[in-house]
Subunit: 240 residues, 4 copies
């Protein structure tokens, strides 16, 4: 228990060991067979909480579509903010697809332990930040200054989310393979993870292209979202 | 798998086939009997997520009712923004009715597959945009400039939502009839769909009338919402 | 089916009968024994949706607490906006108590039909408007102009919510008594309703007092919220 | 029932006894065996509502990250608001951990009665206020004026939340020990509470340090959040 010593910071940390110990999932587990009713968190609650966060984030996106000031020319003003609509639709569909994939990933688990909860929280943090990235791109696209950076941050935040997703996926498939609902061969697990990681590539490209053209970045992100929405993306026609 | 070739864009797309494959609902299904516990998504989760998005959208509507600046005359300022209240109530009731109808529609399903999830996401996207349409009408009504366009966009966004609803309804009732919880005769299914599509008519009229009078548009949308709220609308008194 | 005739409006309405018919809860019931799996909505879903709306409304209240502009004197600026904190806490606790009461009320039901759903939607509409009333009072209190009206609207919106609550309660207890989960004597039902209606009185008084003193209005609303939070309010100590 | 007498305020309060009586959880219990289906609230609904409030609060944090005005220099403007990102991440992780701990705490209960619901509401009120504290710190850090006070309010609001958490924890573990899902020895309960209360210490220190350096305050809060996210914090490696 005396993991750290000497400085104020380490004192605080050792005190805080007490806090988390008292009520963390693992601690609850440690209290033994007598109060043994709590062993990790059910994936039901984890999904319900994640669903709520994702639902709020996806719906907050609309706040980025601002009503033009009434002293201008409405049709022109609305037309000029087309990047806002493109960014809205792209982010909405992308978050919606992440929600589906999240459901599939968590659905493989029997229970969630402390580290899964924490990696999931990190993923939610990345999703929660997407309304900002969307707003940033929508504001700066079609302006001379800053649009490249804004586009890089936009697809960069998708990339970050995809990395957090892959990290959680890896953690579930390998270190926590014993918590899977049904056994998967290591080959199956490797294939799932390879696909997950290869999914990062388009976002790396989109982010890099932001230096050249922010429109290209938005186009790639939009094309990815649109593609995922196609039936072909589901792999249904390649099952034979 | 080599669906596209040659350009950078097609390369990206073929990479992205990998992504969606790894963790899409269909892909999970493909991993075969061993991990066969996941075959599409339960309608429970689909409903829970949709409920959350609709609940957030309906509650965000209140952000359109702005507090008048304290340097004016409060009673007059509040009175002058009556279109805000009318638009709030109309949108609130309309979204609430869509929530009920959505529940009935999804309740007919046993499971949801990739295409249903995607059409549902499109419907949610349309619902998510309603706070913007509401804000637009509330801002522009009673101003000389732009009020016709604002009203057209307002009822047009309801129309869009109704189209997305009908499209999903059609998809569930016909191509995916085998996924219905209990069998429906093709006559029953045709009747349900006919009603769904005929429900678009009032919104087409309301949108067209926006060119003449934005007040007429708002009045029709409000009357529709009010009508749906009446007991007669439930058909309960015509069951004999 | 030919309920209305002659004018455009009535045409629209008769068309809209089609819409609601196609997918309303009652219509689903009408499709008969074959698809008889859907008879009204389960109270589970009704509660889940209502919970979400209430949860979003209660959490949006924080948006009323604005950060003072950095060019002033922070301590003084924060101190001067004490009405904001008082209104926040009062509204938060009041909405929280409505949530509990809503749960008790709906918990008495087996199923929810069209009219219950609609009255519930009306109640949610009133709850959804509370962040605006809260913001209005917080902005106008301590200003010479408009504070009486703002206070009247603040407690008036609580009054409206309480009326919507009582109306739904009445509808459940009397016209829909056959849908209750367990039978209640008419005496019991009358007593519950009497209490519900007598609960409007303090808000009538608070609203009327707004003409004299907006502080008195806020004080009454705050005292009510605080009182409900006390153990004595639960009646637990009067059960003997 | 005549608890108070004489003044208008006491009259109102005695009327309001009627209100809460009619529909409070305890009152529902009092109606006796006939309608005895409702005895307190299930922890399921309590958790679902709390989850929603926490999910909305955690997602609203992103609204604090504002898009810089397009007339400046984007990279510099984004860089200068680093306190915004630090405060966002710190608050997000902290609220996420409170969500986990809340789940563990409520998971020990069989049912929730009036006092538990009210203390839980108080805890939610404190969580609901965190987006404001976060916004305050993010706005004032790096400004000469007000940053100490802003930092004190920031960690002070975490402290308040931790106190509300400990109060509810105490209430569940001691006065309501008979409502626990499985019996816990008084020693176990004391140990859990001691840890809960000792968890307040770092936030007391962080709040006190705000007078010296607001950066130190933020650093401590961030370090606590980061520490909780580490596997070591789960106590998993100290179980032997």
């Amino acid at each position: 228990m005396q993991l750290f010593n000497g400085t104020l910071a380490s004192l605080l940390v050792s005190v805080s060991i007490e806090i988390i110990e008292f009520d963390s999932v693992a601690a609850a587990t440690r209290t033994g067979p007598r109060s043994g009713e709590f062993r990790g968190m059910s994936t039901n609650r984890l999904e319900a909480f994640s669903d709520s966060v994702i639902a709020v984030a996806i719906t907050l996106l609309v706040l980025n579509i601002s009503v033009p000031k009434p002293d201008g020319h409405l049709a022109r003003d609305l037309g000029e903010q087309w990047p806002v609509y493109a960014a809205y639709a792209t982010s909405f569909i992308t978050i919606g697809i992440i929600w589906i994939n999240h459901h599939v990933m968590i659905g493989r688990l029997r229970r969630a332990d402390h580290s899964i909860l924490m990696l999931n929280l990190l993923l939610l943090l990345c999703i929660g930040v997407l309304p900002f990235g969307t707003s940033l791109l929508a504001t700066y696209l079609r302006r001379g200054q800053g649009e490249n950076l804004a586009a890089a941050i936009y697809s960069g935040s998708f990339l970050l989310m995809a990395i957090a997703f892959s990290a959680l996926n890896h953690h579930i498939l390998f270190p926590k393979a014993h918590m899977l609902r049904s056994e998967l061969s290591s080959e199956d697990r490797r294939r799932i993870l390879t696909r997950s990681v290869s999914g990062l590539v388009p976002y790396v490209v989109a982010t890099a292209l932001a230096a050249v053209s922010p429109y290209a970045t938005l186009a790639i992100c939009a094309a990815l979202a649109g593609f995922y929405a196609l039936p072909v993306a589901s792999g249904a026609d390649r099952s034979a």
